[in-house]
Subunit: 228 residues, 2 copies
């Protein structure tokens, strides 16, 4: 049966690894699979965006959204990275990182303590979105990334609001995922130690929605929120 | 009574703002209060560490711990930022950012959607810790940051493990917190719109600890885990 196997096809479903997306350590935890990368990105909405200012790194938390092979971040036209991307030709070099923490891995040895996580790191050049239609669609995606279905259930941005908002686009080209899953990896000689060992799962939990005090009486909690 | 007030004392309890810790936008959300910064840092254990490699930004998730006015991160001696910090004299310029997402702010207008969050951004130069005692203490702090009390209930690192681990120190000097709290800030003319508006609180939830299959029979779940 082995002889009937096809050689591995070119990875149309994977990002091509580059020097900076191949980790120097734990390379077995890295993945370039597009489906996995998309799933990790779609589960979150807060990224950490890195850029260089005066030669030094800056890392800021910000919201993001995905449309196909494009990520969008937004901000006030007055914010630092947005202004820098507007000035910079041909765009602003960035590193956009998304991380989900899934569990605490408590080994018998301090050394083998770890975290189960899934992260995506995107390297690239961010460009200001100037097309009004793309900008409006990107802002809808940003809202829907946080709460799916919400964009259609809110007042759309007006011209003044659109003008006050800048949107950056970052193409998914130089991308890697990295993840750790599973249990503890203690040394064999440590297994008999008396310390508890195992994994404490973590998840994000939503509390009860708190309605605005000025809410129009009779406004019901929408289904997309009740389902969270 | 006003006449008896003392002039504001020099802020021994606050970090001095600098050009890069004063945000260009929403400056009213920024704080330099040490107690607040410490509280935000102590609530987390995963940071996003930014550094510059070949002129481009890199942002990686990693664990951190705090001792007084010092932060520590660790990694394999083979990992990229650790090697870079070891090579670089006098250290590696970094930006270390910690973010807690506390709630989703759903306004009636798409434009006023927001996130309640607390973040700390630390700029500085990371140095490799060479003192063995400081290194050992830092590693204990890293474990205890994730699960308080755990370091004492695990096998300490041996000489080989210590040699394989590099620790970076980053002093808390150029630091700011930024936070958004509270409810929706809709425009007055939007208040009568039929869209639900309010805040969905978020929190981190711990699942039931999953014991390692090889756990020594009779090993009970320690109290510091049951209390999580």
């Amino acid at each position: 049966m082995q002889g009937t196997q096809q050689p591995t096809a070119p990875h149309a479903d994977a990002y091509a690894p580059t020097d900076r997306t191949v980790p120097t350590r734990s390379a077995n935890r890295a993945s370039y699979d597009k489906e996995l990368v998309h799933a990790i990105l779609d589960e979150g909405y807060v990224c950490h965006l890195g850029f260089v200012r005066d030669g030094a790194p800056v890392v800021l938390p910000t919201l993001y959204g995905r449309v196909g092979e494009r990520l969008y971040v937004h901000g006030s036209t007055g914010s630092r990275p947005l202004r820098m991307a507007g000035r910079a030709e041909p765009g602003l070099p960035v590193c956009l990182t998304v991380t989900h923490v899934d569990g605490l891995v408590l080994a018998r040895s301090a050394f083998h303590h770890s975290i189960n996580y899934r992260s995506v790191v995107v390297h690239g050049i961010a460009h200001q979105v100037t097309d009004p239609e793309e900008k409006r669609a990107a802002l809808d995606v940003l809202v829907d990334h946080v709460v799916p279905g919400r964009a259609a259930d809110s007042r759309p941005a007006n011209a003044k609001e659109l003008a006050a908002t800048a949107v950056l686009r970052l193409d998914l080209e130089e991308v890697s995922a990295k993840l750790r899953t599973g249990g503890v990896n203690d040394e064999p000689e440590d297994l008999a130690l008396p310390h508890w060992a195992g994994v404490v799962p973590l998840r994000k939990a939503y509390g009860t929605p708190l309605a605005d005090a000025d809410l129009t009486p009779g406004t019901e909690l929408p289904g997309y929120l009740a389902d969270l």
